[in-house]
Amino acid sequence: MTARLDSSLEAAPRLRLTAPAAFNIVLIAILALIPLYARLSGDGFVLTLSTRMLILALGAVSLNLIMGYGGMVSFGHAAYLGIGGYAVGILAKEGIASGLLQWPVAVAAAALYALLVGALSLRTRGVYFIMITLAFAQMIYFVAIGLDRYGGDDGLTIYRRSQFDGWLDLNDKTLFYYLCFTLLLAGIYLVSRLINSRFGLVIRGARSNDRRMRAIGFPTFRYRLVCFVIAGALCGLAGALLANHTNFISPAMMHWTRSGDLIVMVVLGGLGSLFGPLIGTATFLLLEEALSRVTSYPDLILGPVLLAVATYAHGGIAGLLGGRARG
């Protein structure tokens, strides 16, 4: 991979936007106004789709952290979506409805699995790593299928969304939308701080030239592992949101094609760019939506489009827009 540390020594802006800043600001503004549009036009579907998009974008942001900045291509990232969702669902079924308990457990469970997977998988590189993360995601997928008590293959309906003692009613769609929106922006901000910190420089350096990093004294394995865990935890949060959004959990959340979708979203938006994951997720979901309205066989077009993107469009959309996206 020809990844490189970000450049420019002069007054590095704190929040580095790689697609042109104007585009990102417009995007944020549009997203902020979606609920208003939904209310005025009476189109509830837009709100639902947008909420889903925000949640998946958070997952993509977490994947971009390890993939775009860290060079760790995980083909099992949907596992953390699933674990986060299942934490919420299982606790809800067992009578623990408080979000203040469910969500931390979701994040912790996802972080724990990331720790396990990372500790084993990060000993490998390149294509081995891709395959191993895939295998570990499959493992958790099968575990979920085997959980008869929690719906097994059919999944489990969550009747009550996470409760926040009256001060947050997640059933309010607009409120939930803005919650997801805020968490997404917080996630992006977190990543932006992370990548410029000492920790971030180590991660990015290790992506660029791991051998060199070790030669100057960095024990890169432990830093990558911590990065992997952070990404898993963040994705676990997204999973908790997803479970609430759909009121449903099922093994399909962690099917490997979901992991593939996440990779597509990140690459489409531009690897290693801050707002890339958001752009990529939006594009991907809109594309899926548009295609399914046009034809009964949307993947006949989507498939080749992905192939074309992989073959020709290295920097993703952020790159096409003229931003400095790395591929």
């Binding site: 540390l5 450049s7 701080r193 180590v202 350096g205 030239n209 060199r212 070790r214 100057i216």
Partner: protein, 261 residues
């Protein structure tokens, strides 16, 4: 007599049927500039790999300042004080020279589990980095992107990075590779200046530099040490002449030796 800083004891390593390192034994006292020379394929690269920890030996040991580091990981060795420069440029090209060296400084300034703050603004990292660059003569070029530096400047930067890790032993892998006469002379001057304060193990092809700088020289052929001693003795050693210097290797087809007195 003080214990040697670096002790290499019967180090052996095979690759398939080839013996790349054949019971190499060597002792380097602190403060010495020790050169290792040998024709291509002599096993110099393997030796470096064994010393840095990228390759594990089948037999033998490496001791650094008394402790056995034979199976120690690469990064641990560096933190103990063993730094290396790379022969093939292994720098972060898209950022500045200062950024590169600052990273090396960062590796030795506490841990890097700091998730906040802008590491590129930390004077604690950038000041020592600038100092290292000044020392090798790259001070004015600190803010330059590495992919815009010349080849010779890359080699200087490699040394700056190694220096920034505050080493006790510098393992230099052909620092003069690909340099013209002017750049080489500058590098020799730099190494001469470093000689007093740091122990140096120099792997080189450039005979002029080697004989100008080395306190002692070891000659490696097919993974074996065939001679080790002071430059004058090495130059006079018949086995060395035959195996290496006598082939006209460094001088060209007419057999003239580069760096002849």
């Amino acid at each position: 007599m003080a214990e040697p800083l670096l002790e290499i004891d019967e180090l052996t390593r095979r690759f398939g049927g080839v013996i790349a390192a054949d019971a190499i034994t060597l002792a380097i006292p602190a403060g010495e500039l020790h050169a290792v020379i040998g024709p291509n394929g002599a096993g110099k690269t393997t030796l470096i790999g064994l010393l840095t920890g990228e390759i594990t030996p089948e037999a033998g040991a490496v001791r650094f300042d008394g402790s056995d580091i034979t199976r120690l990981a690469v990064d641990r060795r560096n933190r103990l004080g063993l730094a290396r420069s790379f022969q093939i440029t292994s720098l972060f090209l898209d950022v500045t020279a200062l950024d590169n060296v600052a990273l090396a400084v960062q590796a030795h300034r506490g841990h890097s589990f700091r998730f906040w703050g802008d590491a590129r603004r930390e004077d604690e990292l950038r000041d020592p980095a600038q100092a290292a660059l000044d020392r090798v003569g790259l001070g004015p070029r600190a803010a330059m992107r590495v992919d815009r530096l010349s080849h010779g400047e890359h080699r200087q930067l490699e040394i700056a990075m190694a220096l920034a890790t505050q080493p006790r032993l510098l393992l230099l892998d052909e620092p003069m590779a690909g340099m013209g006469p002017e750049e080489s002379a500058r590098m020799v001057a730099l190494l001469r200046e470093l000689k007093g304060s740091t122990t140096i193990l120099l792997i080189e092809h450039d005979m002029e530099a080697v004989f100008a700088l080395a306190d002692r020289i070891t000659v490696l052929v097919y993974g074996r040490v065939i001679a080790s001693g002071e430059p004058a003795a090495i130059r006079a050693d018949p086995a060395v002449r035959e195996a290496y210097l006598g082939e006209g290797e460094a001088g060209g087809a007419d057999g003239r030796r580069k760096g002849a007195p």
